[in-house]
Structures are given as structure tokens and as C-alpha cells.
Amino acid sequence: MNYVEHIGKYFVMLKQVFTKPQRARVFREALFREIDELGLKSLGIIAFISFFIGGVIALQTALNLESPFIPKSLIGFAAKRSIILEFAPTFCSIILAGKVGSYITSSIGTMRVTEQIDALEVMGINSLNYLVLPKIIATVFFYPFLVVLGMFLGIFGGWVAGVLSGLFSGIDFITGVQMDFDPFLLTYAIIKTLVFAFLIATVPSYHGYYVKGGSLEVGKASTQSVVWTIVVIVIANYFLTQMLLT
């Protein structure tokens, strides 16, 4: 199959995903399971990475702005902007694509090759709706919180790095962070996150749902799906940035 066919099939899949759930009760249960599986279980890794990358961003900025003519507060300002604009939404999404994407593909793919999806269909259940919609809702609602958490911890990491390394003072950093705050940047970051969250739920689902073969193919599909999710995120990031910021 060529790319155009895959893209077409992906949209046909979405059409079946977005139908009314057959049973609200069952849908709710699935949703809570997915929020736990895709969201809460990613808190740790996002917190950990944000904190350290935030520190590295602040250090790098400090090292590159070493000039007596540049006020130290600019470090905090620049670090804040990179964290809010790119690091938190894009970098965190790429990490989530790796962690959550492979999980989604392998779990749906396993259901496919062990005929669990056929079992759903035979019961008269719209399997795409049942399996994929809760994942989309879970990621789209939860990932903005994860990303905002990533922002806070990233900035906090920057502050800690400054204090520990002595390259800039905590006060200067905070002054910089508070300087010239533009709420649109936050809106922009959230819009990006919503799009990425949607992609993280749907692209791996597509790869898992249409897998053919056995467990070997499920493994291959997981790898493929992570690669494709990241590629699509990077492309979407480019166009969103162009659309929203220029």
C-alpha cells in the first residue's frame, strides 16, 4: 500500500471511531482505564525529563549569553520561552509517542492477532469506537495537564541549575521568567499539545488495528508506529508553528 492509501484508510478509520458509544457505562470504564494507562502512568517520566532538560536549557542559555552587556535576567526569559514554546509541548509529545505509542500499537495489535477484535465485532460491537475513542479522549484531555506540568518543572529545573552552578542567581532567573509574559504563548503550546495528543492516540491505534500476522508483526508494527507518530508530530509541529506564530 502506498502513503496515499494509508492516509485514506486512516481517515476512514477515524470516521468509524467517532460514533456514539453503544453504552455510556462501558465507555466510562474504558475511559478511566485509558486515563490511568496513558496519562497517570506517564507522569513520572515527564516530570523527570522536564526537570533535567529544563536545567540543561537554562545552563546552555547561560553559557551562550555570557557577556557583561546582557542582563542575567535574559537567561530566565529565554529559557522560559524555549520551554513553553517547544520543549514542553513538542519534546514531551515525542517522549509520549515513544512510551504510549508502542503501548497502544502492541495492545491493539495483540487483540487483532489473537482474534479479540473479531470477538468484539461478532458480539455486535463497533470495535474501533470501543477501543480508540476512549484513548483519544484520554490523551486529548490529559496531555495538556502533563505538558503544563512539564513547563513548571522545566522552569523549576532551570532555576535549580542556576542556583547550583552559580552561573546566574535565582532572583535574576525569576525576574526573567516573569518578564513580558505573553499568554498567547501558552495558548499556542496547548493547541499544539491537543493536536499531538490526538496523533499519539490515533496513529498507533491505526498501526495496531490493521496489523496482520502474529506477535512478530505486532512487534514490528510497534516500532513502525513510534517512528511514524514522531514523524507526523514533527511535520505537524512545523505547520502549526508557521500557522500560529507567523
Partner: protein, 254 residues
């Protein structure tokens, strides 16, 4: 009753089922036998609507498959139970949740009523005290029994089983066969089973359909299968010396 008329099904130009005509009665256990690759699974999946036939029709108690709307099909599917070759239990749900799943999806009963029903069918398949276990914690035979419980929990009119006793020991195999036959008789279900198991063939088949290269080569009851001199059937069913002797003994008896 299920009537199958001139059913054709192929994949990318290769014809697998080449015009099959037969029928299955309620309260009867019908068996589909045939060599590996003869199209048994394709036939069963066509019967439950997972494959769309290219030609021919399947009539379920007067309802013609080609004339059913999506709504009709959904409704029809709630009337059927299917036991897949590999059980196809939902990994992430416990035994109890697996069996309760169709009830949750399609009935509005309160939870304790559903639990009663679940416990009833689990008892029916002799599987008590495993309610909270996950499929991965069960043996193959137990998984099969859970799959049967899940298939019958909605009181189906039609029951389909793809090799329900492959990979089971002879004793469990017989237990499962008898179970299916009892349920079929008790609830007047129209039951169709794919099998490789010659014990089942000689014991439980009210009707046996022998598929060869995608066509129906023979059909009859498990009593008739001892007497037939259809060469293909005899070669297939009595390929082992043991079964040859069984047949001879049966023929000497009557």
C-alpha cells in the same frame, strides 16, 4: 435454522469456498470436518458475518444475510455466540468481566443480576472459583470453558465453535463436547462446530459436513459416517488404524 445456499468466498482472486449448500437445525450439533486448509474457518467466519460472501446466501430463520441492514446485523449478532480457535478472551479483563462483557454492553440489568447470570454460566461450564483470575492465569482448557461461558451468557440462538477442543487432553475434550451438546439440546441452539477431533465426530455429530477443496464432499450423521463408502470421507476419518478398527467393529455389530 440456518440455510446456506451456494456460498462462494475467495481472497484476492483465489476461490476458497466454491459453492456450499447445506443447512443446520436448532437443537442439533453440526460438525464441519475437513483437512487443514480446506476452508472450515473461512466457512465459519462467513456464517457469522466476519467475511462477506461473494455469491450465495445465508438465511438465519428467514433472515437473508444480503438483505440485512446494519441495524439488523447488529441485532443478529447479539443472538449468536462464537468460540474462537484461540479462545480470544479479553486479556485485560478478569474471567468474570469477560463473561459479563456482552451483558454490560447489551442489557440494562443491574450489576448483581448480571453477576448471578455470570456465575450461573460459569458453573454450567464447571468453572467456579476462578472469577477474579485473568486469562493468562488459566490453562488452555479453562480458557476454552470461559470462552464457551462468554458465548452462551446472552442465551444465543446460534452457537459457533472453531475447534473447541484443539490442544485439549482427551478427557477435557470430551467434557467440552458433552457440554456443548447438552447446552445445544437444552436451549435448542443451532450449533455449528469446526473440528479435527475424530472422537467428537464419532460421538456428537447430529450432522457432519465434510469439506474438501472448498466444496461439500459429503454430509450425514455420525451414525452414517460409519457406514458410508464415500472414499474421501473414509480416507479422511479412518486414516488411523485405530479408527479403522473402530469402524470395523461398528460394522460387525450391526
Amino acid at each position: 435454522m440456518i440455510e446456506v445456499n451456494n456460498l462462494h468466498k475467495g481472497f484476492s482472486g483465489v476461490e476458497i469456498l466454491k459453492g456450499i449448500t447445506t443447512s443446520f437445525q436448532p437443537g442439533e450439533t453440526s460438525l464441519i470436518i475437513g483437512q487443514s486448509g480446506s476452508g472450515k474457518t473461512v466457512f465459519l467466519k462467513s456464517l457469522i458475518g466476519l467475511h462477506a460472501p461473494e455469491k450465495g446466501s445465508i438465511i438465519y430463520d428467514g433472515r437473508v444475510n444480503t438483505e440485512m441492514t446494519i441495524e439488523d446485523k447488529r441485532h443478529f449478532r447479539q443472538e449468536l455466540g462464537m468460540v474462537f480457535q484461540g479462545s480470544a478472551l479479553f486479556d485485560s479483563l478478569t474471567v468474570e468481566e469477560n463473561v459479563m462483557f456482552p451483558l454490560k454492553m447489551f442489557t440494562k440489568q443491574p450489576v448483581d443480576e448480571m453477576l448471578d447470570r455470570v456465575n450461573f454460566v460459569l458453573k454450567r461450564v464447571n468453572l467456579e472459583n476462578s472469577n477474579k483470575k485473568f486469562p493468562a492465569e488459566l490453562s488452555g482448557g479453562m480458557q476454552k470453558r470461559v470462552a464457551i461461558a462468554r458465548a452462551i451468557v446472552m442465551n444465543p440462538k446460534y452457537l459457533f465453535c472453531d475447534e473447541p477442543n484443539s490442544g485439549l487432553d482427551p478427557q477435557t475434550s470430551i467434557v467440552i463436547d458433552n457440554l456443548i451438546q447438552e447446552i445445544t439440546d437444552e436451549y435448542k441452539i443451532t450449533t455449528v462446530i469446526n473440528t479435527h477431533d475424530m472422537n467428537s465426530v464419532m460421538e456428537i455429530g447430529d450432522k457432519i459436513v465434510f469439506l474438501k477443496n472448498g466444496v461439500k464432499a459429503w454430509e450425514g450423521s455420525h451414525k452414517e459416517i460409519f457406514k458410508t463408502d464415500n472414499e474421501a470421507v473414509v480416507n479422511f476419518v479412518y486414516s488411523s488404524n485405530l479408527f479403522k478398527k473402530v469402524r470395523q467393529a461398528y460394522l460387525n455389530d450391526v
